[in-house]
Amino acid sequence: MPMLRMKSSTVRFLAQTIFLLSWSVIAVGESGPNSPSPHGTNIFSPASTPAKSIADLSVFVLVITGIIFAVVFVLLAYSIVKFRGRAKDAGREPAQVYGSTQIELAWTIIPILIVVVLFLATARVIHAIQDAPEPPDALDVIAIGHQYWWEFRYPKLGIVTANELHIPVSHPDHPTPTFLRLLSADTDHSFWVPELAGKTDLIPNHPNRMWMDPQRTGIFLGQCAQYCGVQHAKMLLRVSVDGPEDFAAWVQAQQRPAAEDAGAIAGRQVFERNACMNCHAVGGSPADGRFGPDLTHLMSRTTIAAGAAENTHDNLRLWIREPSAIKPGSLMPAMKLSDADLDAVVSYMETLH
């Protein structure tokens, strides 16, 4: 709860007003906080408690720093106008003033008080977000950062997926938050979906924890925020906040093993005879590689290559044929398949709903 005793909806209104007033033309034109779906990445459009606490605190800090700015700006502007040298003063020096202990004390003590107030307001929010206890019915997700994709595991549900996270919407009266444990398989990454929470890093040998309780359904976008190598820019995040029925349906679909489709036998053989299965896993088949994303339910995802391309037939074919055409520097090698093999394996992928 912020120190400022305003209704949180008022605070949120203020935040968005300040923001939109300043940059209304630009922001609304392209993708404002009110666009239907997917949602934007505006830190002042929070949809979850941590993001909201941060936004409220931020408005408070902005107001205080805004006042400080206004005061000093006025003093500065006044001094350069009022005390500008005029031609008639040439040759005469003004009174030589060396200092004033009282003034120094005043402009030391007031900043100290401001710092105390700001610090106390901030400390409350730090504690509220970081030390929030995990309720027993929270959803547990383990996020593992890779160069350049996200692995998501739901340990209690037996689900392994990649890049697109599905979590349940949380109602303020009976919250169902999602708690993420953040790990890394290689270098440092950072999980940042601005409208759901502040970012937290994924650092090897240093597990981290974060949580969110989104109160709106929809798609929320984000991306890796800690430079992790050549394709850091295309390590995108897509979080789908689902209503209870949709989430349950998604879970059920993910828990099933891979669909068996007789028409895809040829493709499956290509997949399993080439090195594909060394990196990728397809549930219920011998393919059990963990270096690359789990492909069991590839067709349930909207994008491929961690958001670098839409999940379409042509993109999928291009990605498998030549990953560097979509994401140069990605660690997926070009498999040098013949056209026939390529078409077969793409058909196989397209059966993995």
Partner: protein, 557 residues
């Protein structure tokens, strides 16, 4: 009796062959020449670093642009940051310190002239080593490659496993070598200030520039060395099989972050404090009043130096420290804003009641005050760690630190150039070109860096070579890029001013600004021995006392 130069009638000295002149410059141990060498090499790397910035900005002009490949982009931002901090900002500030400190304390040279030269050449060698990586660093594909790990080279990205080849080693060695040069210069500055002051110049009569360079030098000793230590550890990891930052062996990536930022945060104060020094000399002269609150300015600077050693983990708010650590660093970071704010108030207090002359140097100083205020306030915003959990690693941070470095440090440096160029060369810089430089740069700076805060608030992370359309970032990035080009044009105006004024400028004389510190008592440029007779001083403004014998400062101190 006088501090006049010993004059030799013109016409009795033959012009030296250019080879001799070049040799004089390469072999010099004169602090003034070394100062100019530092400044000149910094200007060269400013242009190079600026070109790297323009490449970055062109690539980011719109989403999904293809101006450069991701590999090249990543090298560009790594080299831009490394160049600007280590081979522009530090050398230019060391250059001004080298030039001005002995003059301002009435000394003939620095305490260790040969160490001075050695330190400069170490620094220059470091720069050459870094840039040689473009040709010689055998990257993954055997082609020349500059480092691409960011200027922090976070572990484990800098490890052999993730940075094969030698690009990362060029980064490490270049900074290690120039770091030793920096330590040498810092030792020299401290010894000069403590041991070579002219008679009567007690510590509380030194010009503020001297005080602040003393504090800066002390900080260099404690700040650069952790980076050197960490880099030695990185080399041990990369070449001797060490495990300092090897997470597979139980090592800690976070430890590198702590070591880096224990260097990195005081480093930015090392950069800004000499700029405070420039402001504290220039603003009084162009307000025609002494600095308001000299003892408080000294105390605040020392206070900043101490407190700034305790704030480093505000660069690490997102790495998962516990709430107590985050709260502690929030508090110290906000606290360091207090002495900093006090200084801004003192500069305003200096202008208050004065008779302000709007020479180019003063225009840049006034802009510094506005911009440093804003930069400090965005810093306070990020000091609130939850706010930082959104702002960190985004373009908001990039905007903030460029606001300090360009809007603060570079503007103060421009002021210093316009103020002291006459002393160093004997010629005045053109006020006309100066005003063009100022207004063009001001417009370009604000167009770029005011706007740059917004993509950060809209979720744009840093160090990305491209971005998705539809996030609201496109037009903002375009405006930012245009502003960058306007700044580039302004820099060209500045460089042409430096060059044309050398040949066509008005003669400067000893004291063109009617100033009060000792460097204005000798000729422009000063003779190699600085002062014919070492001066004796009785107040903080010796030349004021001489010009106003009826009302000297010594009556009031």
């Amino acid at each position: 009796m006088a501090s006049d130069a010993i004059t030799v009638p013109v016409g009795q000295v033959e012009a030296r062959p250019w080879v001799d002149e070049l040799h004089q410059w390469l072999a010099t141990v004169d602090h003034k020449r070394l100062g100019i060498l530092y400044i000149a090499s910094a200007l060269l790397f400013l242009v190079i670093g600026g070109v790297e910035a323009l490449i970055i900005r062109i690539q980011l002009m719109h989403s999904h642009n293809n101006f450069v490949s991701p590999e090249v982009f990543n090298r560009m931002f790594t080299m831009h940051g490394t160049t600007m901090i280590f081979f522009v900002a530090m050398p230019v500030l060391f250059g001004f310190a080298n030039y001005l400190v002995p003059l301002m304390i009435g000394a003939r040279d620095m305490a260790f002239p040969r160490l001075n030269a050695f330190s400069f050449w170490l620094s220059f060698l470091g720069a050459l080593l870094l840039y040689f990586s473009f040709l010689g660093g055998s990257g993954l594909y055997g082609a020349g490659s500059a480092p691409d790990v960011g200027w922090w080279s976070y572990a484990p990205l800098g490890a052999r496993a993730f940075s094969p080849g030698h690009s990362s080693d060029y980064w490490t060695l270049a900074l290690l070598v120039s770091g030793f040069g920096s330590i040498g210069t810092a030792i020299n500055i401290i010894a000069t200030i403590l041991c070579l002051r002219c008679p009567g110049m007690k510590l509380n009569r030194m010009p503020l520039l001297v005080w602040m360079n003393l504090v800066m030098a002390g900080m260099v000793l404690l700040a650069i060395t952790p980076l050197s230590a960490a880099q030695i550890m990185l080399l041990i990891d990369r070449y001797l099989g060490g495990h300092f930052f090897d997470t597979q062996a139980g090592g800690s990536a976070v430890l590198w972050m702590h070591f880096f930022w224990i260097f990195g945060h005081p480093e930015v104060y090392v950069l800004i404090i000499p700029c405070f020094a420039f402001m504290s000399e220039i603003i009084p002269v162009f307000s025609r009043k002494p600095i308001f609150g000299y003892p408080v300015m000294v105390a605040a600077t020392v206070c900043i130096a101490f407190v700034s050693m305790s704030v480093w983990a505000h660069h690490m708010f997102t790495i998962g420290m516990n709430s107590y650590a985050n709260s502690f660093f929030t508090l110290t970071t906000m606290a360091v804003g207090i002495p900093t704010g006090i200084k801004i108030f003192n500069w305003i207090g200096t202008m208050w009641g004065g008779r302000i002359q709007f020479k180019t140097a003063m225009l840049f100083s006034i802009a510094f005050l506005f911009q440093f205020l804003i930069a400090g306030l965005t810093g306070i915003m990020m000091a609130a760690s939850p706010f930082d959990w959104q702002l960190s690693l985004s373009y908001f941070v990039v905007a903030h630190f460029h606001y300090v470095i360009v809007g603060g440090i570079l503007f103060a440096l421009f002021a210093a150039f316009y103020y002291w160029y006459p002393k160093m060369t004997g010629w005045m810089l053109s006020e006309r070109l100066g005003k063009w430089h100022f207004w063009l740069f001001l417009i370009g700076f604000h167009m770029t860096f005011d706007v740059m805060h917004i993509p950060g608030l809209l979720g744009m992370p840093r160090r990305i070579y491209t971005y998705e359309p539809g996030r609201g970032w496109d037009i903002l990035n375009l405006i930012i890029t245009i502003g960058a080009f306007i700044q580039a044009i302004a820099i060209l105006v500045f460089v042409s001013n430096l060059i044309t004024s050398y040949f066509n400028g008005a003669r400067a004389g000893n004291d063109p600004w009617d100033a009060w510190t000792l460097e204005w008592s000798t000729s422009s440029p000063p003779p190699s021995y600085n002062f014919a007779i070492v001066p004796t001083v009785t107040s903080r403004r010796p030349l004021w006392d001489l010009k106003h014998p009826e009302d000297p400062d010594s009556h009031y101190e």
